[in-house]
Amino acid sequence: MIIESSNQVPRVTVLKRFPLPRNFGVSSESRIEQGRTWPAPPGAVHVKSFEIYRYEPDSGENPRLDTFAVDLDDCGPMVLDALIWIKNKVDSTLTFRRSCREGICGSCSMNIDGTNWLACTRFISDLATPATIYPLANLRIVKDLVPDLTHLFAQYAAIEPWLKTKTAEPERERLQSARERSKIDGYYECILCFCCTSGCPSHWWNGDRFFGPAVLLQAWRWLTDSRDEAKEERLDNLEDPFRLYRCHTILNCTRTCPKGLNPGKAIAEIKKMVMERRS
């Protein structure tokens, strides 16, 4: 059960979901209802079924789970290819965000087979049958698989993710040694896909005030950048029972990061810096 990297697909599935009712503790407008089953493509040999969360804001109905059958011979290898195939060949109203198709823009983050990942980097052959695709967990849904990320980006803006200096601007660059530059390795690569924040149970229960792993990882990126001179103010902003200390090292964030980053470690480093500042 040693997990070496987050892109390790689990070989054994003991439980697909927690043993809770499907609509456990869900308010009436979020209850998921039975959806329609779309017809399989005629004459297809290799077919895989996908159960996809659908929500039509203008219809007045509750969200539902539609079942699609995808012809694997006609479709690319990634989950995003399957979604585009469904949109082209079966139901053109299926809505999802996508851009780069190579795992660098962070648009197509969604919950695939129970874990948050990018649709363009998840192979269809790694999925269960039927594969389940939900939008990012615990976010308000605009339509189908498109979540409302306004609050998450507002939390990101709250940590002031820019260089704050007191010394005068140098003529050319602000110099940094190679070792100082290596301190932000593993943190600057974040693509802000919010897979981690949306997979954090602590953010599920306290998302309105807890910053979440993505934002805290970026907060650490600025704290550890040697060119930044506002460390004290940044720590004062973070040192709050809700903003930082709702993290209980659940580490779902590190388990699910599609870029292989370690938000849990970044948060631990922030907590360490807070403690060192006190002594």
């Binding site: 059960m1 979901r17 979020s30 967990a137």
Partner: protein, 100 residues
């Protein structure tokens, strides 16, 4: 301009209902649940000690309750919760280097 139909609130995507139970989240939920169970067990322990301090008749009542099937089940459950809370959930987590 008033809206003829009230704006329907956006639905919340399911979280714990569909998220895959992973080693990380399972250990964390276990830790929290056993913590709550242990606090109940601690109260039972205090009741037992108070009864012992009170006198033989009160002690006999409480001892009888604990010796019954339900009482033994509660005690066994408390011991199991102790094991999960200290060894399994916290011990594995904080005792081994789990982060890179």
């Amino acid at each position: 301009m008033s809206n003829p139909t009230a704006k329907r609130p956006r639905p919340l995507a399911p979280n714990v209902q569909i998220y895959r139970p992973q080693l990380t989240s399972v250990l964390s939920f276990l830790n929290r649940i056993t913590g709550v169970a242990l606090s109940v067990g601690a109260i039972v322990l205090v009741i037992w000690l108070l009864a012992a301090a009170r006198g033989p008749r009160t002690y006999a009542v409480v001892q009888g309750a604990i010796a019954s099937w339900i009482g033994q089940f509660v005690l066994f459950g408390t011991t199991f919760a102790f094991f999960l809370h200290s060894v399994a959930a916290s011990g594995i987590w904080y005792g081994t280097p789990c982060t890179a």
